[in-house]
Structures are given as structure tokens and as C-alpha cells.
Symmetry: C2
Subunit: 506 residues, 2 copies
């Protein structure tokens, strides 16, 4: 039975409901997502949320409740952040929400909010050390983690909405105003000396970060349509900020990548990223598409601790894809076992020097090689490439994801070359050999289970007189598989430049 989980994030800028579906093996996928722009920060008057703010919030929550009911969601988790936390009447509001819509809201402390950002990142990105910054409408959370453990965290009581109204009087802030903002940010960061000079990636969470990523991707004509884990050099952040802050609001709004409802407050957020990159002496910002609500979800599903390694993140991702795209799992797991066995035996014969990363690439490519069949059996490998390169897989950089997609969908050398040519900013000629070798290994392993019945249980590689002999142990001597091995074997042999022969060892 599938189960739906709803997460409601009542933020200072927007309220958002995300609905996830959890499959039998516990894997989750987002299935619906709706938001209302509330700008609660602007409704804080003398420490209290005003009537209009309260009324708008209650309306939004009633609407969310309707969607939760329509989607038959039984577990709904509500969290409220800065605006509600800072408001004297915040608890009155959450009580009213619960009374009127039945949604129970937890008001998060700044520390909790920060930790959810950290959890979102560790559950979805290949990073072991880093700084997170989640800048919302009315607060900004930072954390520092090392060896995947949360070391420090802090919540600043300012966000893009409040910084904008505090520092900028005009649409186009003056140089002086901007300098004042920078000084304020530097002073604020200095209260967290544990951020200084870390020289690790700064991971930016939230709408401002997504906008920044999109702006940069358009500028450089990035070849992928994916934002999560997109890296931007510190210099580029400063350049984009300096260009944008001199534009009138209407022109800023027209910049590709800028959200229309965020153009007025985006500068303050970018300035915060710039200051943090400088203070931490970091040369790279990574955009995270996952944030608070994902952290809340991950905690619900996977518990308070992040996965112990990136390998686990990738494993879960592969399992989620297999479930979602209805892969024949006994088949794909068997192909995985055969491919890894060949990989390991080739290594024992000193026929390659690939390491653990390549082994895991092959493993996950084997598990996912049939995902494209969900779309269609014709051109299935093109569809596999499309799926794996276009749908977010947690735990991979973009480059790694492309390599995974190429190996999983490998068909011909020519196709691989055209895929490389489509991503000149991420792949190069040097990748050809890896993809070709692992691609042919996978193609061969797939034919070893062409009937999808796991009839060939094992392959053993032995070297005899300059030739390598693969003996196959199968259920019977005349399997369908044996009649189809010639072509993939000769291609494998050519790609690896090894004389290979198959014998049946029934």
C-alpha cells in the first residue's frame, strides 16, 4: 500500500504544501506541490502578526487542508518558521490553524530550522563537509558540518524581506546603502567565528539560491536542465550581484532566471551569500533544491541522523527509481551481480584499475538500465538516458549523473559520442573510455539474463594461454542466452582489448 505524507512549511515569505508518496520499501517521491505567497514578514507590526496576515494564513491553510483531503493524506506535518516564531501572537495563530483546518503546526526554533537544512543536504548531495545557508523572508540559518556530522548552527533574525526594508529605500539601492548592508552582514557573520576560513563549499538553500543558479546557468548556456548541486564560483556570485543591483526593478524582473515575485528582495539574499563566501574563504557555492520541507520529510522517513555515507544516498536513490519506474528487480539485481562479478574478476586479472566510485557507477547503472522501458520498449535506451539525466538522482554531481545515464543506456560508441558532444561543459573525450568499457560490460551482462529468468547463475573468468575464458554456469546447456552471446562478447572483447571466449559450464 502506498502512503501519502504532506509537509506544510509556513515560511516568512511563502506557505507551501508538498505531498509525497511513500512506496512499499519506504522510498518517497513528490507528487504534488502548491504554494501561496503570504509575505508574513511584512505583516509583523510591533512584534505581532496583523489581522490581514492572520486571515491570509488561515485561508491558505484551509485550502491546503482541502488538497490534503482530496489526496487522501493521512500524515500531515506542519512547521512554521521565523515570522510565526518572532510574532508574540504566533502560538495564537497555530492554535487557530489547528482549530480551523485540523493541521497541527510545530513552531521551529532557529536551531531546528537550521538542522533541517543540514538534513536536506546530507540526504541528497555528495558532500561530507560544508556550510549551509538557508535565507528565508525573515531569518537566515547557517550550519557547519564535517564528516557528515552537524558541528555548529545558528539562526540570524533577518531575511531577504526584512533586510530589504531595513537597508534599501529605493528600488535601486545606492552604493552607500549597499555598503551599509555589507557591513551589517559582515558584522553579523563575525558573531559566528566557527564559520571563518573553513574553505569548504557553501551550500545555499531557498528561492534566492535557485534564482541565482538559474541566472548563472542562462549566462553560461549550461547544458543540463538541473539545479540541485549546481556549482557557482564565488567571483561569479559577486559579478551577478553587482550587475543586478544597478538595474531598475522592472529590468531586474526581466533577467532570465529571476522570479517575478522575488525580484524586489533578491539582492539582499545574494549579498548574504557573497558575505558568507568571503568570510568562510570559500570559492564555491552549491545550489540546493532541497530545503526545510525536505529535511522534515527525510527525518520522518529516515530518522534524525543523516545517511552515514553518500553511497547510501545513491543506493536509496537507485531503489526509489527502480520502484518508481517499475523495473523488473530480480532481473536488474541479477544483471548487477553478474556485472560486478565480471568487474571484480577483471580487476583480479589486472585488466583494469578502476576504483570504488566506478564500481558503484556500474552497480547503479545495472540496477537502472531498464528504467526507459517504462516509457517504451522502442528506443528504450534513449528513454533511459532521458530519465536518468533529467530526473534528479540524489547523491550525484551533474557530471556523475551523466556518466551513470550514459553507462546505463549504453548502446553504441557513436551514441555515447553524441551524448558527450551535447554536454561539452561537463564531459570530455577522456570520459569515452570509461563509458565504453563499463557500457559493454553492462550490455554483455544484460544478454546473460536476456530471458529475465536468472538462468545463468555465475560467470568465472580464467586466463589460459594468452586467452581469457568466461565459463558460464547455467540451469541447462542450451539456454536462450548462449545463442545470443556472440555479438556482445566480441564487442566487449574489442572495447576492453582482451581476447575473450565463452564456455558453457552447465
Amino acid at each position: 500500500m502506498k502512503k501519502s505524507i504532506g509537509v506544510i512549511d509556513l515560511g516568512s515569505n511563502t506557505a507551501r504544501l508538498v505531498i509525497y508518496e511513500q512506496d512499499d520499501s519506504g522510498m518517497v517521491a513528490e507528487i504534488d506541490n502548491i504554494k501561496y505567497s503570504l509575505r508574513l514578514s511584512n505583516h509583523l507590526r510591533a512584534g505581532r502578526l496583523d489581522e490581514e496576515g492572520v486571515a491570509k494564513t488561515l485561508t491558505a491553510m484551509r485550502q491546503f487542508k482541502k488538497l490534503l483531503d482530496a489526496r487522501k493524506v493521512t500524515q500531515a506535518i506542519g512547521v512554521a518558521t521565523a515570522a510565526v516564531r518572532q510574532a508574540e501572537n504566533g502560538r495564537e495563530l497555530t492554535a487557530a490553524i489547528e482549530r480551523e483546518s485540523g493541521i497541527s503546526m510545530r513552531v521551529l526554533s532557529g536551531k531546528e530550522e537550521a538542522r533541517y537544512g543540514y538534513l536536506a543536504v546530507l540526504n541528497s548531495m555528495p558532500v561530507d563537509e560544508g556550510i549551509t545557508i538557508d535565507i528565508g523572508g525573515g531569518s537566515t540559518e547557517v550550519t557547519y558540518f564535517r564528516d557528515r556530522q552537524l558541528i555548529e548552527s545558528h539562526s540570524f533574525p533577518f531575511g531577504i524581506v526584512t533586510l530589504t526594508s531595513q537597508f534599501f529605500r529605493e528600488e535601486v539601492p545606492s552604493e552607500e546603502e549597499f555598503a551599509q548592508l555589507r557591513t551589517f552582514l559582515a558584522d553579523s557573520l563575525a558573531t559566528c567565528p566557527w564559520l571563518a576560513n573553513r574553505q569548504c563549499p557553501v551550500i545555499a538553500i531557498g528561492g534566492t539560491a535557485r534564482n541565482l543558479g538559474k541566472i548563472h546557468q542562462r549566462q553560461v548556456h549550461y547544458s543540463m536542465d538541473s539545479l540541485h548541486h549546481y556549482p557557482i564560483q564565488a567571483d561569479a556570485v559577486t559579478n551577478i550581484l553587482n550587475a543586478l543591483r544597478r538595474l531598475p526593478l522592472e529590468e531586474r524582473r526581466q533577467i532570465p532566471g529571476v522570479s517575478k515575485d522575488r525580484a524586489d528582495v533578491i539582492l539582499a539574499g545574494m549579498a548574504a551569500f557573497e558575505s558568507l563566501l568571503h568570510y568562510a574563504q570559500s570559492d564555491c557555492l552549491l545550489v540546493s533544491n532541497k530545503g526545510l520541507r525536505d529535511g522534515v520529510l527525510y527525518e520522518t522517513v529516515w530518522g534524525e541522523q543523516p545517511p552515514a555515507s553518500t553511497a547510501i544516498v545513491r543506493e536509496r536513490s537507485a531503489l526509489q527509481f527502480m520502484n518508481r519506474y517499475q523495473v523488473d528487480q530480480p532481473h536488474s539485481r541479477h544483471v548487477r551481480d553478474l556485472a560486478l562479478s565480471l568487474f571484480d574478476q577483471l580487476q583480479q586479472h589486472a585488466l583494469h584499475s578502476f576504483g570504488g566510485f566506478e564500481r558503484q557507477l556500474l552497480e547503479n547503472a545495472a540496477l537502472l538500465h531498464d528504467t526507459g522501458r517504462t516509457i517504451n520498449v522502442y528506443e528504450a535506451s534513449e528513454h533511459t538516458f532521458y530519465l536518468l539525466s533529467n530526473v534528479l538522482m540524489a547523491g550525484y554531481t551533474h557530471r556523475e549523473r551523466l556518466l551513470l545515464a550514459m553507462i546505463a543506456s549504453y548502446k553504441t560508441n557513436k551514441l555515447a559520442q553524441s551524448q558527450i558532444a551535447r554536454h561539452p561543459d561537463l564531459l570530455g573525450k577522456q570520459d569515452k573510455s570509461l563509458v565504453e568499457k563499463l557500457g559493454h560490460l553492462l550490455l554483455f551482462s544484460r544478454v546473460l539474463d536476456r530471458s529475465m529468468t536468472q538462468a545463468i547463475s555465475a560467470v568465472r573468468l580464467a586466463s589460459t594461454g594468452g586467452e581469457f575464458v568466461l565459463s558460464c554456469t547455467g540451469k541447462q546447456p542450451d539456454l536462450l542466452e548462449y545463442s545470443l552471446l556472440d555479438e556482445p562478447l566480441s564487442k566487449l572483447s574489442k572495447a576492453w582489448k582482451i581476447p575473450l571466449k565463452v564456455v558453457v559450464d552447465a
Copy 2:
């Protein structure tokens, strides 16, 4: 319960097994496909299939049986064509097949073979009148149909393999040899005077036709990756044939689009197309990806008669896609009803002059608008466009399929423009208005069922004082849907250039 059907096509050139899965509503999708190149025509010695030919066939059939068992196929339908039909010992072979593999094979008459080609075309292409030609290894079937009814059919006892060995002594046939072949083909066609001067499309079935289509697509850098219903002008067929027939075999093999195992016999097939186009005075050849085995399947599933109209073909295709991509059907059917109701009412108010074709485009786009969600909820409309433009939908030309994909996935005018720009050979600026109008109509209808609960049962359009008022009849006055209508309504109003207003008529 899903059911699997296997179709085995024992042809003169190749033997092929295709496995289809039939869903609860009777729709079928191909799930596996395997072939062996047997070249049975070459094993016909003095009217008998030689021992090697028989042995190879029996081996292939045993292998097919293994795949049928592995895939748990209960209904397997075997058909044999020219080589077996022409061989004196054909019945002995089919008896041996049945004995050794349990697959019962029906030896088709030439007329039956021809009729299956016609059935394949009528079940998958938008054509009401045409000539089909299916050229195999050892026979060639032609039919003529009008008003979707089969009028005449014939089977010639020659195919690409036999023509090649009969007329060409060398790899590169001489001008004289080629002239002799052309004369022979013209004389043969003249025995079917019902083909003369029909001036209707010639629909070419089989591997030679697919190769021809691919060659032409590469030459003109065609923007779609789809072969079924690809049109080629008669002149272009002659040009390609004349270029290819002067190349040495090895060079012919290297031409993009030519199958390596077909390069030696392809010329004879192309010459047959050329002669038929000439004799029928037809200026256009359409490539069909569907042939004998699909005809056999369609007969099994849909009966002996073809669908009465292309509209039915499109309906079935839409249903198959909805099942396959797990669309929420109560939702998509409701969106369809709302969109068509708006379309009809706009017409009653003389606000558009679209016809039945556009109405059906909107209908099927509404049914299929959510297919991309199967891939991912993020970028779902991009995925919808990918699916609908890349997976074959029966009953559409390529251009029509693109229009359908664009309307179903419509998000913004900008996105539509970029899609048009990607297909300059099929779409133009004149398509923008249609896509934009129907796209916004669909987007608006989708929001009318945003909760997916069919809470708004009807919309009525009335004109009052220069303004058009849409009254919505819903279950309650404060539906989620109503709170979300402002933006899509204002966009709809702008796209249609009509002042529109919504009132709730609870």
C-alpha cells in the same frame, strides 16, 4: 490482470518474436522483441527448404519458446510467409516446429499476408485511401484500399532476396541489369491494373522501407526521431536509389540509415517502391513501422475489420497512453469534459472557428496532459512533451503529434515558441495561435479540477454587456479551485482576447 500475447513471424528473411502486454481495457503495448536473421529464401533449393534452413529455423523457434515461457506468455500466434509457403516441405517444417517447440504456425496465403499489412496500416495511420506494399525476402504484397475498405490485394512471388539473386550478378549492378529489373517490375505491376494511376499515397512496409526512411531523414536532418508515417516524395526515392546503386557494397553499408545485414538486398526493394510510385502515379511514399505482425496482433485484439475512422484509432491510442502512464483517469476525463464544454460554448458565441480536428486535438491533449507526471512531478510538462513527441501515437501525422504534445504540455508562450523553433521543418509561426489558445483553455480547465476531485461539475459561458461571464457550478462555494483561478483566467482572457470573468454558482 495483464495478459501477454506473443506473435511469431517466420519470414523469408528474418524470424521475429514480438511480445505484447494487454491491459485491463484491452489496450496493447509491445514489451519485448527478438529476431534471428535466417534468410530462408536462400535455403530454398529446387522448391524445398534445405536441411540447414530447417535446422536453423527449428533452433530459432526453440529459442523463441524459451522467451515465451520466461515471459509467461499464454497466447502465442505463429505465422509463416513466402519461403515456407513456397516450399514443398513447408508443412513438414511447421509440423516439426509444433512438435519441437509447441508453437503452432499458420502458413499464410499471399492474400492473407497482404490483408495483415492493410490492417496494420488502418489501425495505426491517419489514411482513408492508399496502396500498401510490403516487400519481404521472398514475396511482395500489395493492396489498394478506399474509404478504409480493402478493395484489391495481390502477392507477387518475389522479394528483395530473390530479386537480388535473380537480377544482380555483382555487388554493384550494371546499368543493364538494373534496367532489366525495372522492366520486370513494371511488367509484374501491370498484371494488377487496379494499381494504375490511383494518385494516392503508397504506404511501404518492412525493413527496406524503414531503411529508406532513415536514409532520407539523415539527409534532410529531420527534426523528429520517428519513422512511422514519415513521408518521402517520389523524386527523393529515385534519387536515393540512384545514388546507392552505384556504390560498392561496403560503402553502401556505411550510409547512415542502411542496416548492415540488409545493404546487399536493399536496392531491389527500393526499385520496387520506385516502380509502384510510378505506376500508381503517386507522388508520395509513407513509411510504415507497422506490418504483418502488428496486423496479426490487431486482428487478435480488435477483430478482422479495421477501425471505422481515424478518430477511433486516436481514441484507442489515448486510452492506451493513459493506462500505460498511469494517468488519474477520473481527473483527466473531467478536465477533458470541462475543456470541450468551454470549446463548444466559445464556438456558440462565435469566438472561434476551429473545427472537428482541433476539437479532437484538445480532447486528447486534455486526456494526456498528466502523462509526464509518471516521470516526475518536477518539470512534468517537459516530460509530457517528451513522451507525446517521442513515443508513437497511432493515428497522427508527425506534425499533428507535435501539436498534440505542445497543447497537452502547454505552460508558457515562450516554451511553445522554443518547441516550434526545434521543429522548423514541421511547425511554423502560424501554429502559435492554435497552440496558445487551446493550451490556455486546457491550463484553465486543469485548474478547474486542481484538487482532482471533480468538485466543479460544470461551467457556463454567458455574454453580458460586452463581458463574458463563466459561471461555475461546484459542490461548495469555497473550493480550493476558486482560490486559484485568477491567474489562469487572466491568461486565458489575454490569449483569446476576450474580457472574461468568473462567478461562482454554487
